[in-house]
C-alpha cells in the first residue's frame, strides 16, 4: 500500500501564531507531532479497514486457500490429505487435461486475432462520416451486452441440427444439414463464431475511441507529403493505436482462456470432449468428480499461464515505449 494521504485537519487546538514560532516550547514539538501522527494513522486505518478486510477476505484468502488446496487430495466433503505435487504430476499425464489445454489454446488462437482484427476493420469503417453511423455503431455493440447464457440458449435454438433455423437456410441453399454444436469436428469453431458475434463489438468500441486520439495534424502532414490511404494506416494510424492493440490482445486473451459460461450452457464440454476448455475441466473436477484439489491444481496452471501472458505483453509494451522514447528524444 502506498503512503496514506495527508489528512486535512486542524493540527492543534491552541491557535498558533505563524509569525511567532518562538512562542512554542520546542522540546514538546516532536513528541506531540508523533502522537498526532499516530492518532491520525489510527483514524485512517479505521476508515480503510473495511475495504482492506474485504480485499483480504475475497482476493488474498481464496488465492492462498486454493494454492494450498492444489497440494491436497480434497473432495470438499471429507477431511483432506496432503499430497504435495501429486495433483500437478497427475495433470501432466491426464489426457483429459491435455485435451482441455489444446481446446483452450485453439479457441484463444482463433478468437483473439479474429476479434481484434475484425474490431479494427469495423472501427475503421465506422469512423467515417456515413449516414446512420450512430445506429451501426450501436448495432455492433448490442451483442456485447447480451449475457453469455442468453447467447448460448439463443444459438442452441438457431443451430439445432434437426429443427434449427440455420439448417433450414442451408437446406434452402441446397447445402446438406450440419451438426454444428453436436458435431465434434465443428463444435469448437461454432463456439468461436458465437463469441466473435458478441466479443467483436467490444473491440470496435475501444478502437473507435482510440481513433479519435490519432492526431489530425500528423495525418494532415502525411497527406501533404503525399501518403496514400494505405500509408496513412500503416505509418500513422496503426502505430498510434499500438498501446490499445496490446491492451485488447491482453484483455481478449484473458477472457478467451477463461471461457466457461457459454460452454456450460451450450455443450457441457461435449460432444466427446470437443469443447472441454480448462475452466470447464476445473469445474467438472471440483463439482462433478469430487476432486477439488485436482481442480485447484488445474486452476493454478491456468493462473500461471495468464500471468505469463500478462507479464510478456507488458514487457513488449515497455520495450516498445522505450524504443519510441529513444526515437523521439
Amino acid at each position: 500500500m502506498s503512503r496514506l494521504p495527508t489528512p486535512i485537519t486542524v493540527a492543534d487546538r491552541a491557535p498558533e501564531r505563524p509569525g511567532k514560532p518562538s512562542a512554542r516550547r520546542p522540546e514538546h514539538r516532536p513528541r506531540r507531532g508523533l502522537t498526532l501522527r499516530r492518532h491520525e494513522a489510527v483514524t485512517a486505518w479505521a476508515f480503510v479497514s473495511p475495504a482492506v478486510l474485504i480485499i483480504i477476505g475475497l482476493s488474498v484468502v481464496p488465492v492462498v486457500w486454493s494454492l494450498l488446496l492444489s497440494f491436497q487430495a480434497d473432495d470438499l466433503v471429507t477431511p483432506s490429505v496432503w499430497v504435495g505435487l501429486d495433483n500437478y504430476r497427475a495433470l501432466a499425464e491426464d489426457p483429459g487435461f491435455g485435451q482441455a489445454v489444446r481446446n483452450t489454446l485453439l479457441y484463444t488462437a482463433l478468437y483473439v486475432p479474429l476479434s481484434v482484427g475484425l474490431g479494427l476493420a469495423l472501427a475503421l469503417v465506422l469512423n467515417r462520416r456515413i449516414r446512420l453511423v450512430g445506429l451501426y455503431r450501436t448495432l455492433f455493440f448490442v451483442p456485447f451486452i447480451i449475457s453469455a447464457t442468453v447467447q448460448g440458449t439463443l444459438f442452441s435454438f438457431i443451430l439445432d441440427p434437426e429443427f434449427g433455423a440455420a439448417n433450414s437456410v442451408l437446406h434452402a441453399l441446397g447445402i446438406s444439414p450440419q451438426g454444428f454444436l453436436s458435431d465434434p469436428a465443428q463444435a469448437l469453431f461454432v463456439l468461436v463464431g458465437i463469441t466473435l458475434w458478441s466479443g467483436t463489438g467490444f473491440c470496435v468500441v475501444v478502437y473507435l475511441a482510440a481513433l479519435q486520439d490519432v492526431p489530425p495534424s500528423l495525418i494532415e502532414a502525411a497527406r501533404l507529403d503525399g501518403a496514400g490511404r494505405w500509408h496513412l494506416l500503416r505509418h500513422i494510424t496503426l502505430p498510434t493505436l499500438a498501446p490499445i492493440s496490446v491492451f485488447l490482445v491482453l484483455w481478449q486473451t484473458i477472457s478467451a482462456l477463461q471461457v466457461f459460461d457459454l460452454v456450460y450452457v451450450t455443450t457441457k464440454g461435449g460432444p466427446l470432449g470437443a469443447t472441454t476448455v480448462i475452466v470447464y475441466f476445473i469445474w467438472e473436477q471440483a463439482f462433478k468428480n469430487f476432486a477439488a484439489g485436482y481442480g485447484a491444481a488445474a486452476a493454478y496452471v491456468l493462473a500461471l499461464a495468464l500471468l505469463v501472458v500478462g507479464v510478456g505483453l507488458r514487457a513488449v509494451r515497455s520495450r516498445e515505449r522505450r524504443r519510441l522514447e529513444g526515437a523521439t528524444s
Binding site: L76, F287, A299
Partner: protein, 442 residues
C-alpha cells in the same frame, strides 16, 4: 460457475457486497459463538426451532412441498421450516458441496440418489437408520428401490424423497399414422428398434424414438436396464473393474441400430428438454421416460400408451432413480426437528399428496393402497404400469466412483450416437477410462 473464475479474476461488485456482508457476519459470528454456542438452533431460548430445507423443486413440485411445509408448521408450532434457500435440484450437488466446504449448510437437502454415495462421506450427514427402522410405517413396507437408494452398506443415510422408474411412452397418433401396432409387455429390444424404424418418417420429420446426447447421467441411466438384463453390472464384484465389459457391447449395439436406421432423435442440449419437446410436438413415436413426464404429456393433449421397457431375455427389468432427503448435522435440536419433519413427510397421508401433486410414485405399499392414490391411477393413463415396474426395478450402486463410470459410459454412448465409434471401440475406450478411475483408492 463464478466460483471457479474468481480464483483468477477480480470479484464483481455484487460479490464484494455479498462478501462484505459475509465478513461482517463472520465477525459477528465469531464474537457471539464465544459466549452462546448453538444458540442459533432456537432450542436454548425455548422458542421454536428453525430448520433450513433446500427442496430443489420448481413449479408444481415447489407448490406441493410448500403446501406440505405449511401444514406441518401448523401441526408443529415448535418447528419452523425455512424453504427459501438452495437451488434447483440439477445444481444441488454443487451448492451442497460448496456449503459443506464452507461449514454453512442446510438441515435437509434434496440430493439425487446417484450423488448420495459421495455426499454421505461427509461426517455432517446424519445417519437415519434408527429413525427409519422405528417409524410408524415399517421399513420393509417401502419399495425395494427406494430402500436401496438410501442404504450405504448397512446404514440408512437419507430418506427416500421421490420414486420413479423408466418405461416407454408411445404416441398413439404416430403409431396409427405409420400403421404400426402398439407394443405389448414382454417385447424385446429388437422389436423396439424395428418399431422405431417403422415409425420414422423423414418427410414429416418424425422420429421413432429419442436419446439424450450430451453424455450426462440422463444419457447413461437408460443403458443400465439393458446391461443388467444381459447379466452385467455397473461395477464388478471387488470394485476394481466395470461390470459390463462383456455385456456392454451388445447393449451399445441397440443404440447403433437406432443410429443406423436414423430412427433416433439425438438431443444435443443439456437437460434433455428438447427431446421431450419433440415428443410433445407429436414428432416422436416412443420415448423412454419416467412418471414425472406424464403431467406434461397429458397437458399437451397427446393420446398415449405406456408399456414397460423391452428386454433381451423376456424377463421384465427397469431402472429406478430415487431422489433423497439428506439430513445434515447443525446441532441436536435441529437434527431432531429435521427428523420429525421427514418422518411426518414420509407417512402415507402426506406421501400421497406429494405423489399426486409432484409426480412421484408412492414410496410405500401402504401409500399405494390409499383411495387418493387409486383415484390418481384411474385418472392418469399408464401410471399403473410405472408402479408395476417397481417390482422389477433396480437402482445404481451407491459407490463413490460411480460418477467416473457414468462419465466414461456417457462418452461411449455419445460416440455411438454420433456414429464416431463402433460399440466395440467405444466400450474398450470406456473400460480403459472407468477402470483407471475405479482403481484410485477412495
Amino acid at each position: 460457475m463464478g466460483a471457479v473464475r474468481h480464483i483468477t479474476s477480480s470479484p464483481s461488485r455484487r460479490d464484494v457486497l455479498r462478501g462484505g456482508a459475509l465478513a461482517l457476519a463472520a465477525m459477528a459470528g465469531a464474537s457471539v459463538s464465544g459466549c452462546a454456542s448453538g444458540a442459533d438452533d432456537g432450542a436454548a431460548a425455548g422458542g421454536p426451532v428453525t430448520i433450513e430445507l433446500w427442496h430443489g423443486q420448481t413449479d408444481v413440485g415447489r407448490e406441493a412441498i410448500e403446501r406440505l411445509v405449511a401444514d406441518f408448521e401448523r401441526a408443529h408450532p415448535d418447528i419452523k421450516i425455512d424453504t427459501g434457500g438452495g437451488v434447483l435440484a440439477d445444481a444441488m450437488l454443487q451448492k451442497v458441496t460448496a456449503a459443506l466446504a464452507a461449514g454453512s449448510y442446510p438441515d435437509i437437502a434434496y440430493i439425487f440418489g446417484s450423488d448420495l454415495a459421495n455426499v454421505a462421506r461427509s461426517p455432517q450427514v446424519v445417519d437415519l437408520t434408527d429413525m427409519m427402522s422405528s417409524g410408524p410405517t415399517p421399513w420393509t413396507d417401502y419399495w425395494a428401490p427406494a430402500r436401496a437408494a438410501v442404504t450405504l452398506g448397512d446404514k440408512i443415510k437419507a430418506a427416500p424423497a421421490l420414486l420413479d422408474s423408466l418405461a416407454v411412452v408411445c404416441n398413439k397418433k404416430v403409431f396409427s399414422a405409420a400403421g404400426v401396432d402398439l407394443p405389448k409387455e414382454g417385447w424385446t429390444w429388437q422389436e423396439f428398434t424395428e418399431t422405431a424404424k417403422r415409425l420414422t418418417d423423414k418427410g414429416s420429420g418424425t422420429f421413432g424414438t429419442g436419446w439424450p446426447g450430451t453424455g450426462d447421467e440422463d444419457t447413461v441411466w437408460r443403458m443400465w436396464p439393458l446391461i443388467w438384463d444381459l447379466g452385467g453390472d455397473v461395477i464388478a464384484p471387488g470394485g476394481r473393474e466395470i461390470g459390463f465389459a462383456t455385456t456392454g457391447e451388445r447393449a451399445l449395439e441397440v443404440v447403433r441400430t437406432l443410429v443406423g436406421d436414423a430412427s433416433v432423435y439425438v438431443d444435443p442440449k443439456p437437460g434433455s428438454e428438447q427431446m421431450y419437446k419433440v415428443f410433445l410436438a407429436g414428432r416422436m413415436g416412443m420415448v423412454i421416460t419416467g412418471p414425472w413426464q406424464l403431467p406434461d404429456i397429458v397437458g399437451a393433449e397427446i393420446d398415449y400408451h405406456v408399456v414397460p421397457l423391452p428386454s433381451f431375455s423376456g424377463k421384465p427389468i427397469t431402472i429406478s432413480g430415487p431422489d433423497t432427503w439428506t439430513v445434515f448435522d447443525n446441532g441436536e435440536a435441529r437434527v431432531k426437528a429435521a427428523r420429525t419433519f421427514l418422518a411426518w413427510l414420509m407417512q402415507p397421508e402426506q406421501d400421497v399428496r406429494w405423489d399426486v401433486e409432484a409426480g412421484s410414485l408412492p414410496l410405500s405399499k401402504r401409500t399405494q393402497s390409499l383411495p387418493a392414490w387409486s383415484k390418481q391411477v384411474e385418472k392418469t393413463e399408464g401410471l399403473s404400469v410405472f408402479v408395476k415396474t417397481l417390482e422389477t426395478a433396480r437402482v445404481r450402486p451407491n459407490d463413490p466412483a460411480y460418477p467416473h463410470v457414468s462419465k466414461a459410459l456417457g462418452e461411449a454412448v455419445v460416440a455411438v450416437l454420433l456414429g464416431k465409434s463402433t460399440p466395440a471401440e467405444a466400450l474398450s475406450a470406456c473400460a480403459a477410462k472407468a477402470n483407471t478411475a475405479l482403481r484410485v483408492p477412495r
